[in-house]
Symmetry: C2
Subunit: 422 residues, 2 copies
């Protein structure tokens, strides 16, 4: 955080000096598009405050060219210019992003073009390429800052001072309890990451899992883990698209994949769920990053971090996936605050790894990753993003629990916080 | 249940005797429209089974005229003909309705006209008239079969063998815990029924409540209760429409009213919520009968029992009310099974009151009420209806609890099941 990076490309515009009036005009232009954030914008000797609030941070543009590039659409360009070191944030990066997110609420909704983008079709090859770009950056990179089980989704801090390691196990355990898994049952998991949840379900709840993922690196790692833990008979990791999930199961689970499915393919996911679950005894859970109102992801995130991703509203997930699959919503939990805390933990570990020289890649990559982690934390803190965990069951099924009380205190297992550790 | 009622109007068609072939053809026609239910349909000596399943009950039509009246649309006419005693159900009424509801899933969606009906505008005068027709049947009538606090919404049976009295208090307590009420806070309640929740919140949680209702009978009763319990300084019951709720509050709550608002007026409710809640500290809860897919209520229920009512899907409530109000969904609990149990309790009490001659009205009214209670229970059991309890907060507010665990086990208050009783 706050690493000082000198401008990569010195501005050729610097020689023109058309006067500070122009710079101030440009700064005001950018400020107006950012909205009433508690930020000071600075280029050279000129500063403009974006609101009447005392600034929590200063955003310094290395030169007028950068400022000009940003003026038409600061949200679209900020990420690249920050990553390239042409913009520096002086002060706490998180606070700066948080106030920017809060201000953004006042500058209106996404334009029609941005909304049309969310409707573009996804096909298996595109999904595979999109997933490859983010998740195949190398397992050794992710190992530097994820927990020991390599869980790359929102954790569940059953107490505010729980460790990330504990919180990831607590999340997996909460998912299992919501699903009411019993030994001998079968589970289909789509989008299984490095396999931690599939392995947890098999090891702690005695179920048989078929887990799907298109990331080659992740599947390779997950299979190795299954062998090491002696679970290869109970967990099958398939390097295949969710559309290829066949057969029936007692439970269906998907943690952190819906964001990658794309709205145009929700019907395909609905058909997979419908054909997987028994109408009388089935139940399922989807866990996804969502929104209060339909809006594409930040353009920089969509371009550089998660190509093709879209965070749906709860109602888009209900209308697009669960209702067409013939499912009733049984329970929804918004874990937004837990995702903010998870991202904080990841970012602290990432910064430690950077300091100790354990993260490869070049400085622009590291700055981009820092911005992605801090920006996501700010988005969850401000409610720009939500994290919905949705339990569902076929309409009319009677398999759902009478109350939720046992999820939080189970006399056989003890309180939910005493999660098993392996 | 199963009271035998002779045909009110003997059929003048009985004399024609155009042959049993015609009766059987009509029975098959009705059976086809009911779908594959485990029912035997009978008129005179003729019977037809609606499916290959062993019948759980026999539906006896008193004459051919009744059968003819039902043939074009059995779901539309059944209620009136049953209430008038021209149709009798031999066997368990609940089982008969349950199998009919399950079969209905196979006979397609509501027609376009029925769907257009759900979009008709509501205005305060219409709402008042609709509410009057159901809720002003006389407090003495409802007292015969509701719990002692006159709570006419889904209870929460924290243990399956809890009494209705206990379960209604547990429901109110669960609502208060979800809202995290603290002494001295203010609450706006819209659609307050006979006032039990408003009084509970004030008495057990020390909050100040303004509670709105357009039912004259209910408000009169609620005010009397407030006086008797010495709570008139903390609870104000206003005989006014939800649209007239002004001022701000720490919490907003509405239990069992959204069904009466009408889709066309969701925006008005959204504006009330938005202007009531503080953007940083507010939180709210709506509790309503819902659906998995958009569909009007049963036509008989809409005509005879709840005029103007509509049970929205979760996504209609999110898109229509919560998102426009600027709210994030924090938590959704589907209490469908609890509503089935609540209705079962009400129906048992109702039948006892009928037997003991404590229910007035004529026999068609009592039969209609029996059908309404049993039909609703069947609808919740089969997943044709859902009960959603939705906790929400202004987007970006940080007032929501870290986990739900304290709702189920609070060290200060003890387990949620040890609800206060007064």
């Amino acid at each position: 955080m706050g690493a000082t990076v000198r401008p990569v490309v010195p501005s050729s515009w610097g020689h023109f000096h058309p006067g500070t009036g122009f710079d101030r005009w440009l700064l005001r232009k950018v400020a107006a598009r950012i909205g009433p954030a508690a930020l000071r914008l600075t280029v050279g000797e000129n500063s403009v405050d974006a609101s009447d609030l005392p600034p929590v941070a200063t955003v310094r543009f290395c030169d007028r060219r950068t400022l000009l590039a940003l003026a038409p659409n600061p949200h679209r360009r900020f990420g690249d210019e920050y990553a390239n070191g042409r913009i520096e944030v002086e002060g706490d990066l998180l606070f700066a992003l948080e106030t920017a997110y809060r201000a953004r609420r006042h500058v209106g909704r996404a334009g029609p073009l941005a909304r049309v983008l969310t409707l573009l079709p996804h096909w298996p090859g595109l999904d595979r390429r999109n997933i490859h770009r983010h998740y195949d950056l190398g397992n050794s990179f992710y190992r530097q800052w994820l927990d020991e089980r390599m869980v790359y989704t929102c954790a569940y801090f059953d107490s505010p001072d729980a460790s990330l390691e504990h919180a990831q196990v607590a999340k997996m355990e909460l998912v299992c309890r919501k699903l009411g898994l019993r030994p001998g049952e079968s589970v289909v998991e789509v989008g299984c990451g490095w396999g931690a949840l599939a392995l947890h379900m098999a090891r702690e709840h005695g179920v048989h899992v078929r887990a799907f993922n298109v990331s080659h690196e992740q599947v390779r790692y997950a299979r190795e883990q299954a062998r090491m833990q002696g679970l290869q008979d109970r967990v099958r990791f398939l390097e295949a698209d969710y559309r290829r999930a066949t057969g029936t199961a007692d439970a269906f689970v998907s943690v952190g994949m819906l964001e990658h499915v794309g709205k145009a393919s929700y019907g395909e996911l609905a058909r997979v769920i419908a054909r997987t679950l028994d109408p009388r005894t089935g139940r399922g859970l989807v866990h996804f990053i969502g929104r209060d109102v339909p809006r594409p992801l930040d353009p920089w995130i969509r371009r550089r971090i998660f190509p093709g991703a879209y965070a749906p509203t709860l109602d888009e997930a209900c209308r697009g996936v669960l209702a067409p699959a013939g499912m009733s919503v049984i329970d929804v939990e918004n874990l937004r605050a837990h995702y903010a805390k998870t991202l904080r933990e990841w970012r602290e570990r990432f910064e430690r790894a950077v300091e100790e020289g354990r993260v490869g890649f070049d400085e622009p990559f590291r700055r981009a990753w820092r911005l992605y982690l801090a920006g996501s934390e700010a988005a969850f803190l401000t409610g720009s993003l939500q994290l919905f965990q949705v339990l569902f069951a076929p309409a009319g099924a009677r398999t759902t629990p009478w109350t939720r009380a046992t999820w939080y205190h189970d006399h056989e297992r003890g309180p939910a916080c005493s999660v098993p550790t392996s």
